[in-house]
Subunit: 201 residues, 2 copies
């Protein structure tokens, strides 16, 4: 027997692929309960191992959560990548796609873009996955060659969408706003155009 790759052989003392199983179970629990509701022990229970088993693969709960957030950023990148970067409609279209992602994965979004109490942005995999997704997003959203640091346009756009996502998820806004989203997102475009014209960029 020439090393049968242990796919899906969850029987016996050794699990076989505990690391990814923990991440998958964590993702499920995350969407069901939110970031605060994920407990390492519950994830282990779900997978059918003891409470301390995860520590063979993650130094801490925070590291598991960081791994989960990492797959979140990969998903976001894959979702953004095929979108056209039409400079005219890009802002609101990108905003809608971003919004869809957040509303389809609220727990994951909160984990990725919330406070760093649950994840560790110094984690290498996480920080590169995050950078890749956000740089792609900035590339599709910004005018080519603009300085994303000083340019208020992209910052305002991201803030607007992020704030909208958060307020919607936390139910701080009245319900039934779904068809207003495009109009809300487009409100920024005249201001950005005007800013660009004034600075003659």
């Amino acid at each position: 027997m020439i090393q049968v790759v242990p796919e899906m052989q969850a029987r016996g003392y050794h699990h076989g692929d505990l690391r990814t199983a923990l991440i998958k179970a964590g993702l499920a629990l995350l969407e069901r309960e939110g970031p605060g509701g994920v407990s390492l022990r519950a994830v282990a229970r779900q997978v059918g191992v003891s409470q301390a088993a995860p520590y063979a693969h993650f130094h801490s709960k925070r590291e598991l959560m960081s791994a989960i957030a990492t797959v979140g950023f990969s998903r976001l990148r894959d979702l953004i990548a095929p979108l056209a970067s039409d400079p005219a409609r890009s802002l609101s279209d990108l905003g809608l796609a971003y919004l869809d992602f957040a509303r389809a994965n609220p727990g994951l979004y909160r984990l990725m873009f919330g406070s760093d109490e649950h994840i560790d942005m110094r984690n290498e995999h996480l920080s590169t996955a995050s950078r890749q997704a956000l740089e792609l997003l900035a590339m599709k959203a910004g005018r080519n060659g603009s300085d994303p640091i000083r340019d208020p346009g992209p910052i305002a756009a991201w803030s607007l969408v992020h704030g909208l996502v958060m307020l919607l998820m936390d139910e701080k806004l009245p319900s039934g706003l779904d068809q207003s989203m495009p109009a809300i997102l487009r409100l920024l475009e005249p201001g950005v155009a005007e800013y660009v014209k004034e600075r003659e960029l």
Copy 2:
């Protein structure tokens, strides 16, 4: 002796004013550690009472946190109240004041406007304090008589400022943006004006 109000008599078996002392200590701990770092036992320890003492004044930790958030909304209302409601500059000025409040009390802001895992919006005091502050804010920001439900302007404005606050607090944005804030906030005004003109309001 006509009922000497027990101010500041923290000695003996009975504390004297434990309820407000807990709220005050909770506020301090909240700003030092964030909402997730506040523990009922730590607050009790700070005040010098046993772990179960708070339960004479609050049914649960969530109720203490709700009381803390309530003073947060009162503070916000008092801070917004004296501001002029100049319809021309109101949006960005209000936004700057709101932003100042959030950055001066990041833990409190997160508690007030974050997810409802820590506070209970069905709490009567909290919901009225919240409503008062937000209605005042909407009144100062909105055109008089506009329907705040369907009008995308106020929603976009709140979302923009809230998102900006969150991204700044969570250090997702590059540093040194302070002087860009007015420009960022003003980016919404042309779009709102245009929207109003189109609808001929």
